[in-house]
């Protein structure tokens, strides 16, 4: 991005939009890094007005120590060698060489400890994007430039150890140096003239790359949830229907390694909770034989559902999305056939459709692309049992075609609901659920962690977090309700439930808990229709003539089906809420 483009983007940002305040913490003059960071963030968050605040010059640790969490949703921390010891830069003349090397190491260690302490005090609801030194070290060491000196190795070890300790902080996101190196040539990053003249050390191109990288960490898109893959010349090399199940290949000797790597990637994605399905035009029995091969690198039980027939792939994709209960914008479709890709893309314009490439360079790029699309900052407990839940959901749905059967199924499920009244503000899963859930969502209103925390300070406010498990396994925390008690009336302004938890009557149990423990005669829901919250609209429609009417206890009990859950939780907390 050119500097003029960056400045134009910042100048054209909507002035009346909700602010997105960010602290840029760096020890140098922020100058164009500030412009580029603002521009890239503004592009990623078009409905917000990005505001960048900067800290103290030449005092990175001081900036972080003075950080006021109420004033920023995110902090971008940019560390350079001269922040760790000024002698590692070009603006101070404190000496180079073996004479000062030991002292530089001591100062660096102390500064890193100070930075770590300051970062660890930043509350978990503030995102911290952190860049380790990205500029080359000065020629301050006794070896030739080709040879790494002891002090250089020790410096990098200190920084590496510092970086290794940071992920334990719940909101620190460390920039991947490898990706930055791909975007910005290390040899062209430093601008000595700009550094000496203005205190800004970066060439414009590097400032642009760093701004983009920081924005990608701070405003990363939601990871995709599912991948639908073709089989022939995609999951494996060859046409299984023609070559036979034992002749399709994915190994090095058959020059099919890219397909093996793809299988390996899908298995890894499945392990981190990504849903994997197959959409293939083939004969089911031939495919089953191929999928039964023991050398398949993607475990058969990780794939669900499997759509193998000769009908259009868009129909397969539609059924897969329905089974997964996710939107097209949360899924990725991979196929080696351009026509199939176009057919699916036409039916699902929001879906990311990827051509499985024929050449190695493009294949490698595709594997990296998949990492980007599905990458998560951290793995949650729920990620491990997402697929099991969906398989179980299908069982419930199929039995649910007959009301008695559904009731029978649920009565034997040994379901336990754990209610948590007013979970701590530090529970990030609660806000994550509110912001990630689309379908069973009362009104689609999103909150930043800071806004959520702010609302919790209202003494009339309550939050109910609901977790679920049954004999098939836990679903984890799957629903959140929040609202206010005012003049004896309960008004719910936030209600979300993960689509994984549908068909278990958890929504009924949630309302039952409100009536039981808040001792209220009726409840008002701040419902607002969105493009995606049809399931919530239908549910409220089954209870109320109009969603803006109050739901009385009597009306609810008249329509509530039999609930088979055992309910446990911190009921004592409720006394403080009454």
């Amino acid at each position: 991005m050119k500097l003029s483009e960056a400045l134009s983007i910042v100048q054209k940002a909507p002035t009346d939009a909700q602010p997105f305040p960010v602290l840029l913490a760096c020890g140098f003059t922020p100058l164009h890094l500030e412009n580029y960071l603002a521009a890239h963030l503004q592009t990623a968050l078009p409905d917000r007005k990005v505001r960048i605040a900067t800290g103290l010059y030449d005092n990175l640790a001081g900036t972080l120590e003075q950080f006021d969490p109420s004033g920023a949703e995110a902090v971008a921390v940019v560390i350079e060698w001269f922040d760790l010891d000024p002698r590692l830069g070009y603006r101070k003349l404190g000496g180079w060489g073996q004479r000062v090397a030991a002292n530089i190491l001591e100062t660096t260690e102390a500064t890193l400890a100070r930075l770590e302490a300051a970062i660890s005090k930043i509350p978990a609801f503030v995102k911290v994007a952190l860049v380790l030194p990205s500029l080359p070290l000065t020629p301050a060491f006794h070896t030739s430039g080709w040879q790494a000196s002891g002090p250089e190795i020790a410096l990098r070890e200190l920084v590496g150890a510092f970086a290794g300790r940071l992920p334990s902080h719940p909101s620190v996101l460390l920039l991947n140096e490898q990706r930055l190196n791909e975007q910005s040539n290390p040899a062209e990053r430093y601008d000595l003239r700009a550094d000496l003249y203005s205190g800004f050390p970066y060439a414009l191109k590097h400032a642009d790359a760093l701004g983009a990288a920081l924005a990608a960490l701070i405003a990363s898109p939601q990871p995709k949830k599912g991948l639908i893959t073709d089989l022939d010349d995609t999951l494996w090399l060859g046409l299984v229907g023609e070559d036979g199940h034992d002749s399709v290949a994915w190994d090095l000797a058959s020059h099919a390694q890219l397909h093996g790597l793809y299988q390996q990637m899908l298995h890894a994605l499945a392990d981190q909770g990504v849903l994997i399905a197959i959409a293939s035009k083939n004969s089911p029995e031939v495919v089953e034989r191929a999928l039964a091969r023991t050398d398949l690198l993607l475990a058969r039980d990780k794939i669900f559902p499997i759509e193998v027939h000769w009908e259009a792939k868009s129909g397969s994709v539609e059924r897969i999305l329905k089974t997964w209960n996710i939107g097209a914008d949360s899924a990725v479709f991979v196929d080696d056939n351009r026509m199939e890709l176009e057919e699916v893309r036409a039916a699902f314009p929001d879906m990311e459709c990827i051509l499985f490439p024929k050449d190695y360079a493009a294949g490698l790029a595709m594997l990296h692309r998949l990492r980007d699309l599905f990458g998560k900052p951290r793995l949650a407990e729920e990620d491990a049992y997402r697929l099991a839940t969906i398989k179980q959901n299908r069982q419930i749905t199929e039995s649910g075609r007959d009301g008695d059967l559904a009731d029978q199924f649920l009565s034997t499920a040994e379901a336990v609901i754990t209610v948590e009244w007013n979970p701590p503000a530090t529970d990030r899963r609660v806000v994550e659920l509110v912001n990630k859930t689309n379908q069973f969502n009362l009104n689609g209103v999103r909150y930043t962690e800071a806004e959520w925390r702010q609302k919790l300070q209202d003494p009339n406010r309550f939050v109910l977090a609901v977790s679920y498990q049954d004999k098939f396994g836990p679903l984890g925390k799957i629903a959140v309700l929040a609202g206010e008690r005012s003049a004896g009336q309960i008004q719910i302004d936030t209600w979300v439930m993960s689509c994984r938890a549908f068909s278990r009557r958890i929504e009924y149990q949630s309302i039952a808990q409100l009536f039981q423990y808040l001792e209220t005669p009726d409840i008002i829901f701040d419902f607002m229709s969105t493009a995606k919250n049809g399931p919530m609209r239908d549910f409220l429609g089954s209870l109320l003539e109009r969603p803006d009417l109050a739901l009385t206890r009597e009306a609810f009990l008249a329509k509530c089906p039999k609930l088979h859950h055992e309910v446990i939780g911190n009921m004592d907390t409720i006394e403080q809420l009454r």
Partner: protein
């Protein structure tokens, strides 16, 4: 207005978005409150980008008005051409 002056005006417009376009040709450090040392560097970087030249900040030191900037820029461009 020649191309150099016109392009320089564009740089001023981006660096000082609140400046009345009609006032750019007479703009100076005294008439534009936002024209501080940081804005000066931004302006010079924009000029470098627009004219595809490697700007030496010191070469433009003391250029505190549009007309002075334009004069130094013309000098810089002509020396580039003669080289």
């Amino acid at each position: 207005m020649d191309e150099t002056a016109s392009k320089l005006e564009q740089c001023f417009q981006i660096a000082f978005p609140n400046l009345d376009p009609a006032a750019i040709s007479s703009a100076s450090v005294d008439s534009v409150p936002q024209w501080d040392s940081v804005a000066q560097i931004t302006l010079l970087n924009l000029i470098g980008e627009e004219f595809a030249i490697d700007i030496d900040f010191e070469e433009f030191e003391g250029a505190n008005s549009f007309s002075e900037m334009l004069a130094r820029l013309r000098e810089r461009l002509s020396s580039s051409n003669s080289n």
